[in-house]
């Protein structure tokens, strides 16, 4: 199993980290923790 990446915050920064990390290393296990109900929103 790949390494475990945990991201805190699902805004523009957190969302981009998750997408690119997965693209580069599909073996990564990724969880995004978001305080609110919405993710990856545009300002």
């Amino acid at each position: 199993m790949g390494k475990k990446l945990v991201i805190i915050g699902a805004g523009a920064g957190g969302g981009s980290i998750a997408a690119e990390a997965k693209r580069q290393d599909p073996e990564l296990t990724i969880s995004i923790i978001e305080a609110g109900p919405h993710v990856a929103t545009a300002a």
């Binding site: 390494k3 475990k4 990446l5 945990v6 991201i7 805190i8 915050g9 699902a10 805004g11 523009a12 920064g13 957190g14 969302g15 981009s16 980290i17 998750a18 997408a19 690119e20 990390a21 997965k22 693209r23 580069q24 290393d25 599909p26 990564l28 296990t29 990724i30 969880s31 995004i32 923790i33 978001e34 305080a35 609110g36 109900p37 919405h38 993710v39 990856a40 929103t41 545009a42 300002a43």
Partner: protein, 399 residues
Amino acid sequence: MPYYIGDVIKDANKLTARTPEKFREGGIEVMQNNRVERVDTDAQEVLLEDGAKIPYDILALGTGTTAMRAGIPGEDMDGVFVLKHLGDALNIKRYLKDNKCQKAIVVGAGFIGMEVCEAFATLGMETSVVHRGQYPANRWDPELSGFILEEIRKNQVTFHTNMQIIAIEKGPQHPLRLHTNQGPLDGDLILLALGVKPDVALAKGMGLAIGQSGAVAVNYSQQTSIPNIYAAGDCCEAYHRVSRRWVNIPLGDIANKQGRVAGSVIGGKPMIFPGIVGAQSFRIFHLEAAATGINEKEALGVGYCPVSDITWGNATAASMPGPKKLGLKLIADRVTGRLLGAQAVGEKGAVGRINTLSAALWTGMRLDEIGYLDLAYAPPFSGSWDIIHIAAQKLLRKM
């Protein structure tokens, strides 16, 4: 989000770049409505408020910013909003729908305040802006922000200057009354647009280094002071290529790029975030406002010898009909002749000029080079000497 509130963007779903379902399809778990209590960096665990523990090998922070509050009585009342998250935009929209809102008050005259006052006025509400200073958008010089102020007033928005807010309470005719140092203002809705600050509470708890800007310190690979912890976006700093300092400029385009760099590094492909030049823009009714680089005060603070000049001209050939008034301020370094910054406000073409000048800042171009840059000329888009050429040559003569 201001354009969603103003009904320009009709569908809130269009504001979401990637849905939780889309993330999950891509094999990424999304845990919404989960607050992090703290992070144990020794055990490499994230502790949630509900008691759950999530172990990690690599951690990344995208905690963003928090909206500044006014710290006055009544700011938590119904009808008083900030605009930070999509949830705020949805709440404002719902409140507007459920209540017959006729009068809106925007507190703050930064770019969010400006965009929202346009949205409220466009919806037909009697809108006023409450500002503690004299001119809106303080990144721009008074001569340029004066043009913005004229535009605001031309569109029937009342702009109150030098006004301090004191308290909010129930109003006699409208639901809310805002007390100020210049008397009360009544309204159906109050938006507090007082700015944001980086959300570094968790980072501080973890003992991560915080930079002078107050945001999380990172290197060019987006690594924090603990190597297996990364940060990207509004919560962290970015290297400013003109001031050569680490700064915090909370804008979504920077967040996207930093996030992609961090993700690439984490995924095993090394990458460097090349920094920023501080490019920024907003629209207010029929005006474009844009700026890039640094101003004279910032330039002096980092050891430059700034000289500047404002040029008023046209976005198109002077002979072309239609709105075209454009003001461009350039700031340059007397010692090296290099451009340090630019500000533009115009009925047209301000953002395009600032984008061009951002590229010039990026490569460290001098005014003499900018004065003869090959730009795309045609009468609908510029004079045969573009305002960029004119301004650069004019400032060069002052050096």
